[in-house]
């Protein structure tokens, strides 16, 4: 058993702040959508909008960080080991088979993660941001002569929100599929991941 | 002597004119209405077990009531609740008392009188309290 330092301090702060904001935004977002009543519409919109701006600010930092550190490369998709990963989650995991992927500092994410996160970053997030900003600035957009109905904007925004919710559920579950039930989560908190075997003998 | 006589006449006419103009004030029933509804009724609703409408008494009864200046079954004076000190004491909570804080007592009393007489049971426009 070995411990390697995977997640840097900024990454961890970014991750957990983002987690908090997204959970808050989903809770208030579906309330604004009319699915239930929690804070009341007025407070829900205030929280939702404030959180949105906070998340945008966080994202500006995160993008900057990814590019200056070169960490963006972590999300380049790969097919190498992909089928092995899928097979592992479908069968291997139940028989304590060895994990086909080894984390290193240079390769934090397994190929499935890479694909999933890339999808979030390139598809769900932009969709949610763009429709959300359009939602906020609906009046200005229409005043500028672009006749977009609020209904269509809301539709796109809610589709994106359902995708985000689905990702969120699966993401939380996969957080328990580490070496132990909690090792991934601990790693996200402390930065240190427990991996099996010798970290230096990476294939 | 002559100047003296002139002065006396001047004084006399001046006094007459002054008292006439003081007497000439005619109650403003609308101001009375606002005061009655905001000050008198506010207290009656809270302390007298409900509001007391001007139309509960006749003109003659109101005349006599105001003349006697006995209020709340004779316990205190009604004029007191029209007076500046009372207005000053409640003006923080009562907008009418605040708005009319500087109106002379006699005027406001006349205003009130004009309103209750007009709103009396047999008045020009029987009025409720709110």
């Amino acid at each position: 058993m070995e411990r390697i330092y995977i997640f840097k301090r900024f990454e961890r702060i970014w991750h957990w702040t983002q987690a908090l904001l997204i959970i808050g935004m989903m809770a208030t977002g579906f309330e604004i959508h009319g699915s239930y009543t929690l804070l009341g519409f007025a407070r829900a919109t205030t929280v939702h909008t404030t959180a949105a701006w906070a998340l945008i600010a966080l994202w500006v930092f995160a993008i900057f960080w990814h590019f200056t550190t070169g960490e963006w490369r972590q999300y380049i998709p790969t097919t190498e080991n992909l089928t092995a990963m899928i097979r592992y989650y479908l069968t291997g995991i139940f028989s304590n088979a060895p994990h086909p992927f080894r984390q290193t500092q240079l390769r934090k994410h397994n190929p499935l993660q890479r694909l999933a996160y890339l999808g979030v970053k390139l598809f769900i997030n932009p969709l949610i941001w763009a429709s959300g900003l359009a939602y906020l600035y609906y009046n200005e957009i229409n005043a500028a002569g672009y006749a977009i109905g609020l209904g269509s904007i809301a539709l796109v925004h809610s589709i994106a929100a359902f995708l985000m919710l689905t990702f969120f559920i699966v993401h939380i579950y996969f957080a328990t599929t580490g070496h132990t039930w909690s090792s991934h989560i601990k790693a996200m908190v402390t930065g240190w991941e427990e991996v099996e075997g010798d970290a230096r003998s990476v294939p | 002597m002559k100047t003296r006589r002139i002065l006396v006449t001047l004084l006399a006419t001046g006094l007459a004119a002054a008292s006439a103009s003081a007497l000439a004030y005619e109650g403003d029933w609308k101001r009375g209405r606002v005061y009655y509804r905001s000050v008198c009724t506010a207290c009656h609703a809270a302390q007298a077990g409900g509001s007391i409408a001007p139309s509960e008494m006749t003109k003659a009864q109101w005349q006599a009531y105001l003349q006697a200046d006995k209020h709340a079954k004779g316990k205190d004076s009604l004029k007191q609740y029209v007076g500046k000190p009372y207005r000053a004491s409640i003006r923080a909570q009562n907008k009418a008392a605040d708005k009319f804080a500087d109106v002379p007592d006699e005027e406001l009393f006349e205003d009130l009188k004009a309103f209750v007489i007009k709103g009396a049971k047999d008045g020009d426009a029987p009025a409720s309290c709110s």
Partner: protein
């Protein structure tokens, strides 16, 4: 020396004789009418007073002659409908012709007792009804617009005596119009206090801030004329051609502007909400009328408004043949043999609809059909897409009223009068309608049936303090105030059911999937 003393004495005496505030009552005009010789006389009638007024105000009567207040007639330029109180039919007391002497107690003139009133006579203008300040000037029904000149019983047999009007006193005390003078008619429309409008009743004569922020008697103390600014006796703001959406911005002194000064926007503009959290509200002003949020309920002043009126049940008499009067537990009349059944309401939530200011009336000659369901006495125009509409609060007044099932028209019954056809005296529809239709110059088959009608009244008075305005969730919820208003996407109210279904299935499926996966792991690992 003595003289000096005397002077001093005189000074003291004068000073003490003048109490601090004994300055004469504040007049806000430059003329004290009680000082005018012309008004210091005994007047035998209203027209005599008017002649005295016209001695100085030479153009006043001809100005009044040009107004709706005088003619009770209005030609709607948008659709050429001939409207005005003289012509329209409503579902309250129905119509004016043949009932002139009663209805014209709310006409600003003297002597309109039948169809032959002289509209050109200057002395027929009633100056006092609008310019009285004493509150002692009252026009009684049945006197064709005159106040009582001798002690008069209000309704014969009622025992309620109204004293002869002291015309000289009223004339000497004339002043600007007030909530009381406008209210003398407009608070009592439909035949009683608060009956018609719902947002106008006698509680507005001296309201507090909760009832109306602008008219608050201890605060801003607006009169009707503050908003309904009159020029040359023509009062601004019309029920026949209202401005539903005012994009003209605030009226500013010096700005050339003949638009309606009585809209909210004419003072507040279109972005009245302060910066910060409330600023989002400014994004609503192109969809929702100010009144929708700021008048959360009508009839809030303790006076109930009529919500419905069923004429078809009128005419039931006691075994002795006497008219009946039924009251509810609050002492409000809910059945009157003369009029039928009523329902009343206080603190009523208005209904909401798109409104662009276009109103089309169903007039006397127009075909109506019972099988059409409800006949709209006035159809309000508006839609989400015409660019002229906003969502407005309305009092929708529903009822059933007599109509002619053969000619398929509404009818104008003769209700009030001391003769042998008036409905309120004789309780016979056929004769009453025959008389009324003759006065209106319209054909009547002799058959009477009842037809369901409704009438919409845009709500604009009784503006509540901002703390009492509607909150977001009042509309942004599945069953909120605007539940029935179409053409607009309202977050919280609207959603796409299909997308929601797919979305919840997807998320739920994911959840079920991971729970299953986790359970399997748990089970297997134990082996």
């Amino acid at each position: 020396m003595k003289i000096r003393h005397l002077v001093l004495l005189a000074g003291f005496a004068l000073a003490s004789a003048l109490p601090a505030g004994a300055a004469p009552a504040k007049l806000n005009t430059t003329a004290d009418h009680s000082k005018f010789k012309e008004l210091q006389q005994e007047f035998a009638s209203g027209p005599e007073v008017t002649k005295a007024c016209l001695g100085c105000h030479t153009e006043a009567a001809s100005q009044v002659h040009r107004t709706k207040h005088w003619n009770w007639e209005f030609l709607n330029p948008a659709n050429q409908q001939r409207l005005g109180k003289k012509n329209v039919i409503n579902n309250f007391c129905i119509s004016v012709p043949s009932n002139y002497a009663f209805c014209t107690s709310c006409h600003i003139g003297y002597g309109w007792k039948d169809g032959n009133f002289d509209f050109a006579a200057q002395e027929n203008v009633d100056c006092l009804v609008c310019h009285d300040t004493t509150g002692a000037y009252k026009k009684l029904p049945g006197l064709a617009g005159h106040p009582p000149y001798k002690d008069t019983e209000v309704l014969p047999g009622s025992g309620k005596i109204v004293k002869a009007t002291d015309l000289a006193k009223v004339a000497q005390k004339v002043g600007k119009t007030s909530r009381d003078t406008c209210g003398a008619c407009h608070f009592f429309g439909g035949g009683g206090d608060g009956v018609k409008h719902g947002d106008m009743d006698s509680s507005l004569a001296s309201p507090d801030k909760e009832l109306d922020v602008h008219m608050d008697a201890t605060g801003l103390d607006f009169t009707c004329g503050t908003c309904h600014k009159a020029a040359s006796h023509d009062v601004a703001g019309s029920r026949y051609t209202p401005v539903a959406r005012d994009t003209g911005g605030a009226h500013i002194r010096g700005k050339e502007d003949d638009s309606n000064p009585a809209t909210c926007q004419s003072c507040h503009g279109e972005t009245p909400h302060k910066k910060g959290e409330a600023a989002k509200l400014n994004d609503h002003t192109n969809v929702v009328a100010c009144q929708t949020c700021h008048i959360p309920k009508i009839a809030r002043g303790g006076v109930a408004t009529k919500m419905s009126w069923d004429w078809s049940t009128a005419g039931q008499l006691s075994p002795e043949g006497k008219p009946l009067l039924k009251k509810d537990d609050k002492g409000r009349v809910i059945y009157d043999s003369k009029k039928g059944d009523f329902t009343l309401g206080e603190n009523v939530e208005p209904e909401y609809m798109w409104f662009n200011g276009d109103i089309t009336y169903t007039l006397l000659g127009d075909k109506v059909d019972k099988t059409d369901g409800i006949t709209h006495i006035n159809k309000v125009g508006g839609s989400a897409t015409d660019g002229r509409s906003l969502i407005w609060p309305m009092k929708v007044f529903r009822g059933a009223q007599p109509y002619d099932p053969v000619n398929k028209t509404l009818v104008t019954p003769h209700t009030a009068g001391n003769d042998d056809t008036a409905y309120w005296k004789n309780f016979g529809w056929e004769k009453a309608i025959a008389t009324g239709m003759k006065a209106s110059g319209a054909p009547f088959s002799g058959q009477v049936d009842f037809i369901k009608t409704d009438m919409s009244w845009p709500i604009t008075h009784m503006v509540a303090p901002k703390e009492a305005a509607l909150g977001c969730a009042d509309c942004h919820s599945r069953d909120g105030r605007l539940a029935k208003v179409g053409g607009v996407y309202i977050p919280g109210r609207d959603h796409d059911p299909l997308i929601d279904l797919i979305g919840w299935l997807m998320a739920g499926g994911a959840l079920a999937g991971v729970i299953g996966h986790g359970a399997l792991r748990l089970v297997r690992r134990k082996d």
